[in-house]
Point group: C2
Chain length 277, copies 2
Amino acid sequence: MESTTEYANASRVSDTEGFVRETPERTLSLTVSYNGAPFSGFARQPGQLTVQGELEQALSLVFRRHMEVVCSGRTDAGVHALGQVVSFDVANDELEGRNLYSLRRSLNALTHEDITVREVEERQPGFSARFDAQWREYHYHVCLDEVPPLFMRDFSWYVHGQLDIDAMREAAAHLVGEHDFKSFCMAASAVGKPTCRNVHEISLSREMIMGEGILTIKVVGNAFLHSMVRTIVGTLVMVGRGQRKPEWVREVLEARNRTAAGGNAPAAGLVFWRVQY
Amino acid sequence: MESTTEYANASRVSDTEGFVRETPERTLSLTVSYNGAPFSGFARQPGQLTVQGELEQALSLVFRRHMEVVCSGRTDAGVHALGQVVSFDVANDELEGRNLYSLRRSLNALTHEDITVREVEERQPGFSARFDAQWREYHYHVCLDEVPPLFMRDFSWYVHGQLDIDAMREAAAHLVGEHDFKSFCMAASAVGKPTCRNVHEISLSREMIMGEGILTIKVVGNAFLHSMVRTIVGTLVMVGRGQRKPEWVREVLEARNRTAAGGNAPAAGLVFWRVQY
């Protein structure tokens, strides 16, 4: 995280990645929902509509200076969020005469209609939405109806035919725990980076959402690699369809190669649900 | 219901409205979901995109003749349906070499993407989606979150501020039972027609749908007048906001005048949920 403002009384601390930065005077966080459909993902890219770009533009207008945010987890193009968290630093005098409700109102007025700022909170100075996260939770929605979903069309993956959910649960159990998830990471992103992650929970539950039959796959972990949740879902669906046995998932892990796993499940079915600090 | 085909061996029966018609050889029903947003309502209108128009056009292509359907309940522009039911008659030879699954597939391929035919069933000859219905169920979704809904935006009414749900329940209790609902019927539609209806249930429950806080108002009754559910919801929300006392609803009923009731709740929040035969 780089701050673009200098603070008179800021002290120097080192964050979890070891480099030294200034302790800011005040740190705020936003809890943000978005419908991922219109965005080229979360991360700012020149000339593209992105969630980060929209939030930073709105914050820059409000605070009348260039603002940057840190997020708890980047999401790809088309992926939704219910509780994405972003953090940013401000100086004491920048909050004078403001309250957090009016800040939320301003941000909601200034951002794209497919972004909703649900909450604005003040955190400990230096709080990082990324480094202070204890765990992240994603929900993936698969539609199990005989016909394609209508109300959940933009928020689910319609999988033709029956799925063996017990087999998927058995397969999922092999993924829980601390593992090298290199096989579940988009190849280019894994080069030269640590690929061990701790998955705390993968649970599958059937529910009716707006009258449509949905299998919700909840995945909770300390952190996730690029496209990891969608690869886990694509792999579990192969097992659910009977194309692979549940034990195959162990081989996939051991292969440490992206081509060993199933395909990427479509972005629209994924919601970055929440982050625990 | 008027049939456009003549059947050699059809007998004559009188339906619930007393006029005489031919008994058809075979009668089918479709259970249909639709996202109401793009449609000018259910009922066929020349030059307009309507659900009935789409279904009849698809059926006419499949059966290679002019087809008309009868529905269990018309819905206004923008109102959704999960389980709308329509019925239509066919001759024996028109079903030869067809099965109901392939008929469903054809209809889903031929209709607008915001219509899904969920089920095709054969019924007793002469079955009417309208006259054989025992009761109808509607769900109305009100969003109660502090910020506008995102995932439920197209399927809910965002009501600013808190609602007193206990007061709304008390008000709703006055509407349950057999009453003259003239005050809850769009004025033009009530002229010279019976306006008594039997409301079996109005229940209010809070739920989370896609992570958003929704108040679902379920209304069940034998039949409904034009815009009756939306007027009930508009009236209950006035009570929930504290603008009226729960007992006021009794006065509204007694007035037998549309202007006595609350406004029409927006169409997007309403889903025609299901019909019991």
